[in-house]
Symmetry: C2
Subunit: 297 residues, 2 copies
């Protein structure tokens, strides 16, 4: 029999959410649901009401750990609603139902990403060149389907963690012609592209897109060069009024590897805001929705 | 008696111009004049006509080594005109005159940079925040004079060589409040600034500014955030129709330190182009000249 995760192991995985730099918002949200499922099954609790109280508090803690990432809040909120019906059940049944519910919500999220990727593909014509910024797992799915269609990609490195490097490596490995540039070369290379397409970490109530810092510059350059700027993400990334006001996350300046700089204030904000006026269309599992605020639509 | 530079030492210094990543266009142009002065004094030549032929060929080689940098072409051309009058002189007099002329041209360039810096200062009000990109030695002079005026600076790192790091260190060392950001954070921080100010490597005939890649993105973000975008450089940076068509320099991808990336094409273009429509005013030794193509002037 395999070892079940104990209290310490679950606590450790929850605590790692705040510092996770490896996963995008959707993948991290599904990781939270995976931890939640394990907690539902194995976290110590004397009875069902105590268990649901613990699971609810944990879900809130995980949401609060990454306030810029709407899907963590949205998917865990959806799961918390399922927990409300469990209090009349015996502990073992409640544990199983809560875990199943977490896995079901994760599956809905995965299906939404797949569907959004399909809609994104439909926007990329034969032999077109796409410029993108940062790494979106949904877009990676969309780009994978471009093999054999003569498409090419321009990818920015995306300082400080350079997830663009990772994306470029994966795309080139699939045989897609891939060019990797520094973030500062965005403006030079946008004119070689037919369209710009990015993912999103969150979408604010007014349609403003929160994504890896530099996205706003790509949107400005796309408009200036008259190419469309598409944002592709599943609808779980939409923030609503029940969520705390958006605050972009700032990480340690040490990540920038700039060395000792006495008296210099080094800033490392991860996300910027792209207003709907700069977005040609939003793409989600529901389809392609042209942005009415963008005068070019 | 000190050792005079020999033929090999002069050749070595000339050959290093192409690979110099440390100096901006004006400083590198003056370095070329310094080498030219040494060559005038010490390079082997049987007589005056042979000397002027050698010096002219060397000047043309140095110009061609950095085609993006107009001041190298302009200052060396100015010097070459002085060489034309030397052929009737004896070799020793011709050597001295040619060296003096090179030093005189360098002094004119230095004085022009100082004067341009003074005009740039006049555009920065008390307690204003200036955002800049890359390192311009002329702007460094202008910023130095901001001490005690409550001004603050936002500086981009400027990948790949991160000369912004060096600028930030110098500004903070003078006691100026200085913030250092990645290039991708330009769009986020431009809204905290009262004005944007950059140097230039060259200015094309139509007023388009050639400067470190990323400058165009700063200009777009400045316009979008309704802050002025000033370009400050001495008039020797102006290209004219006698020069070869502008080709931005591309350097080795190894400089980006992105490691092994099989099948990925890595690009490392140093300069981008900012059209006059995005420039509020040009600042040179002659003063501040508002750009008529910019609708906000």
């Amino acid at each position: 029999m395999g070892a079940f995760p104990d209290k310490q192991a679950i606590d450790r995985r929850m605590n790692a959410i705040a510092g996770d730099r490896e996963h995008g918002a959707s993948a991290l949200a599904r990781r939270c649901l995976d931890i939640a499922a394990d907690s539902a099954l194995y976290y110590p609790a004397p009875d069902t009401p105590a268990l649901t109280a613990i699971l609810t508090a944990q879900a809130q803690d995980m949401s609060a750990a990454r306030p810029s990432m709407a899907p963590i809040h949205n998917l865990l909120s959806r799961w918390q609603r399922e927990l409300q019906g469990l209090n009349g059940l015996d502990l073992e049944t409640a544990r199983r139902r809560a875990a199943d519910a977490a896995r079901a919500v994760a599956k809905v999220s995965q299906a939404a990403c797949r569907q959004a990727a399909l809609h994104a593909q439909s926007l990329i014509g034969e032999r077109q060149c796409v410029i993108t910024h940062s790494l979106s797992s949904t877009l990676l799915q969309a780009f994978t389907a471009l093999q054999g269609r003569g498409a090419s990609l321009i990818v920015t490195e995306s300082r400080p963690l350079c997830e663009g490097r990772n994306l470029a490596l994966q795309l080139a490995g699939m045989g897609l012609p891939t060019t990797l540039i520094t973030d500062a070369q965005l403006g030079l290379f946008v004119e070689k592209a037919d369209l710009a397409m990015v993912g999103a970490d969150s979408v604010l109530e007014d349609g403003t897109v929160v994504n890896k810092v530099g996205t706003y510059l790509l949107a400005l350059a796309a408009r200036e060069n008259s190419i469309p700027f598409y944002v592709c993400c599943e609808s779980f990334k939409q923030r609503d009024s029940s969520m705390p006001p958006f605050e972009p996350e700032e990480m340690s300046p040490d990540e920038l590897n700039l060395g000792e700089l006495p008296k210099v204030e080094i800033r490392n904000i991860y996300f910027d805001l792209t207003p709907p006026e700069l977005i040609t269309a939003r793409v989600s599992e529901e389809g392609v929705s042209r942005c009415r605020l963008n005068k070019r639509c």
